[in-house]
């Protein structure tokens, strides 16, 4: 991007990151500035590249399962669900209804945990320190449920191909119900802190606008797309894992600015609670593991499954050559695709808005670089 010499102009090229705390990881943004104004950006990624897709080719299907948790490590359960669904599609099996209901509960809980971390850090970037403490306090409750259910808080490895390994622990339903009951007033509390706050509104309104057409052009999905007014949610559009049974709304807003994305995510947390409340009331009895052999050996073929992860459309494309290891496993990460719209969103804005826009995209660099 800094193509011509800038000695004869007032342009300033500034490196933001990779150690900058507000880039949420190891993202390096080269900013071309004219005073406070951003003339252009260049994102340099790859500092957290671990070659996850290549690792998949040297692991069996079951062995690769823990690695997907390490891509989007704030929403590990969603990653696991996407991978398991993709392999299940290859194997042509379906998880039993009980497993599906528990999967839905845990992924929605994970969506809340992911959005809470986003809200806390986003507000912290803008300058509001209080929300991060409250958000992490509630996130702790969600992580405790994960720890009790599958033994890990972050890189959960909660689901297995064909269903679940772990049966719910005693009091699981009650804990989910308690969480739902506790959580809705807490969302109202965050809204009280932020929604009307003049600094918050002033920093977010009309910042980083991305229209619906631009979103489609860039392939942006998730809350960023919904904030631009497109009613697109894979849970409704292509229901998976029994989402068609639950009644929930897709929150949308019209302007597509940072404030709208904030409002959409807040509403999404409420909708997640709604889904969890419905799912926990009707967990069917029955087995939790489908008919999957000890050795997972799908027939030759390919499968693409995409799910609505907290950050957008998360897709897994797996090619099987008939052996126990995938021939190719391609991940379509929402963060990577959403990050491409960064330049469009902050070009012409102010340097202080860069932090707000990176925060609102809700990227996780583990997923961007893979």
């Amino acid at each position: 991007m800094p193509d011509s010499t800038f000695l004869d102009s007032t342009e300033l090229v500034l490196n933001m990151g990779p150690q900058h705390p507000s880039t949420h990881g190891v993202l390096r943004v080269i900013l071309k500035l004219d005073g406070e104004k951003v003339l252009g950006t260049d994102c340099i990624i790859g500092y957290l590249h671990r070659g996850v897709e290549k690792i998949a080719e040297n692991r069996t299907y079951a062995q690769f399962n823990p690695y997907v948790d390490r891509m989007d490590y704030v929403a590990a359960v969603s990653n696991g669900l996407g991978y398991c669904l993709a392999v299940e599609k290859l194997l042509n099996v379906e998880a039993p209804p009980r497993a599906q209901a528990i999967r839905v509960i845990l992924t929605e809980l994970n969506r809340i945990a992911s959005h809470l971390l986003w809200l806390g850090t986003h507000a912290l970037d803008i300058g509001a320190i209080t929300p991060v403490f409250y958000c992490l306090r509630e996130r702790e409750e969600a992580l405790k449920i994960f720890e009790k259910y599958c033994g890990a808080r972050l890189t959960t490895h909660a689901f297995r191909i064909g269903g679940l390994l772990y049966e719910t622990y005693d009091g699981f339903e009650q804990e989910i119900r308690d969480f739902c009951k506790m959580f809705i007033p807490k969302v109202d509390e965050y809204e009280e802190l932020l929604t009307n706050n003049r600094i918050w509104v002033g920093r977010l309104k009309d910042v980083g606008i991305l229209s619906a057409d631009e979103c489609k052009e860039f392939g942006v999905t998730g809350p960023v797309l919904r904030a631009a007014g497109v009613k697109w949610d894979l849970r409704k559009a292509q229901p998976y894992s029994g989402y068609e049974k639950y009644d929930f709304d897709i929150p949308t807003r019209q302007n597509g600015d940072t404030y709208d994305r904030y409002m959409v995510r807040m509403e999404e947390m409420r909708q997640s609670v709604r889904i969890m409340e419905q799912a926990v009331e009707g967990i069917p009895e029955g087995p939790i593991m489908g008919k999957v052999g000890k050795v997972i050996k799908p027939a030759i073929g390919e499968a693409y499954v995409s799910i609505e992860a907290p950050k957008g459309e998360l897709g897994y494309y797996i090619v099987s050559d008939g052996s126990t290891q995938p021939y190719r496993c391609r991940v379509r990460p929402p963060s990577f695709v959403n990050l491409q719209a960064l330049d469009r969103m902050i070009r012409g804005g102010l340097i202080a808005d860069v932090v707000a826009v990176i925060g609102t995209l809700d990227i996780v660099l583990g997923e961007v670089d893979r």
Partner: protein
């Protein structure tokens, strides 16, 4: 008009501050005073590996089937065994587990047919050397021994 008055009297800011004041005396305190107060991890917590022994006779439960080594994504378990002349059964000689590469996914634990290998609730596994992270059979049977300081 009301909007202007709300702006002048800083209603939005006081609304937020009210939340902060409401939370001044929290019911639950989440901070753990770590060395003095040890966190209670969940029952299913996947922590330090342990090779279980039969409490009655002190013999290992491991039947040297090598399934854990095959299940491990990182190939960090090495099991060597020898067929015994007397019982005609495989007998375990060495069992090494490289905890420095372990990601505690629990696949070895799932693979074990006799529940000999288990991921326990111990989580203090630090050591001063890299070699100290590679646990042999004895270390696996005894479990980690973290230094505990009295506070």
């Amino acid at each position: 008009m009301t909007g202007l008055l709300k702006k002048i009297f800083l209603v939005d800011l006081f609304q937020g501050l009210f939340v902060t004041f409401r939370n001044q005396n929290p019911k639950y305190i989440y901070t753990e005073q770590y060395p003095a107060e040890r966190p209670k991890v969940a029952e299913r917590y996947r922590g330090a590996p342990r090779l279980n022994i039969n409490p009655d006779n002190g013999e290992t439960l491991c039947i040297s089937c090598n399934l854990c080594a095959l299940a491990c994504p990182e190939n960090l378990i090495v099991v060597t065994s020898e067929r015994s002349e007397v019982t005609k059964r495989k007998e375990l000689i060495t069992f090494t587990y490289d905890t420095s590469r372990c990601m505690f996914c629990g696949l070895c634990e799932d693979a074990c047919p006799v529940d000999a290998l288990e991921l326990t609730q111990d989580f203090e596994m630090a050591s001063y050397t890299r070699e100290g992270q590679i646990w042999d059979r004895q270390a696996l049977e005894e479990g980690p021994k973290p230094t505990q300081y009295k506070c």
